[in-house]
Amino acid sequence: MKVRVQMFAALKEMMGEACVELDLPPGTTVAQMKHTLAERYPSVREVLARTQVALNQEFAAPEAVVPEGAELACIPPVSGG
């Protein structure tokens, strides 16, 4: 299944893309999706390790399964305020 993952801040800048499209097997977990991203973008491995994934605008557990059609985003450590 194809998913699109939004990127922000340093991740977006280092990857050079605001949105990344991935082709994932059904049943892929959030942790596996991050692993796929780290393989494709080795330069952001360290940032990804500390990045949370938002699934439909809520932080998702690593073992959560990525549903088809979900709104996905990588949330590196936040620094608002």
């Binding site: 590196p76 450590p77 305020g81």
Partner: protein
């Protein structure tokens, strides 16, 4: 009231929003852009966010604060884009019948905002370099202004 704005924060409007005859206390917190961080000079800051989730998280924070403290009104305004030195990047204002709730709720709101709301700042250093701030990740990205 939850707002993400790309212009200077109107602090008087934020205070007006939380003012009420039901309140005996109003607390306003402003986060302002600081010139020196650990001895390093900042020229300005830029903020970006994940707008839909940032709004949703801010609404959740307001709801939780209202459930934990007796609040009359609550306002959270975060500025996005370019913020010059000394200007407010965030305003949190709460009103309550008595001051303890207002102080506690205001502190909890800004502390929690800084932990969970998907907003990021980029330090534009005075030496021309800039970097996104990601707590726990040293110098995630640094480049010169000429990149």
């Amino acid at each position: 009231m939850i707002e993400l704005v790309e212009r200077p924060i109107d602090e008087a409007a934020v205070l007006r929003h939380v003012s009420s005859p039901a309140a005996g206390a109003v607390v306003l917190f402003l986060g302002t852009t600081r010139e020196f961080t650990a001895g390093r000079q900042t020229a300005s800051l830029d903020y970006e966010c994940y707008p839909e989730m940032a709004r949703s998280k801010l609404r959740q924070l307001e709801e939780e604060a209202r459930s934990r403290w007796s609040l009359v009104e609550c306002a959270i305004v975060h500025r996005l884009g370019h913020v010059p030195l000394g200007e407010a990047s965030v305003a949190v204002a709460v009103s309550s019948p008595h001051r303890q709730a207002a102080f506690e709720a205001g502190k909890w709101l800004i502390d929690t905002l800084k932990e969970v709301v998907p907003i990021w700042k980029k330090e534009n250093w005075a030496d021309g370099t800039s970097e996104w701030v990601h707590p726990g990740i040293p110098a995630a990205k640094e480049h010169t202004a000429h990149d």
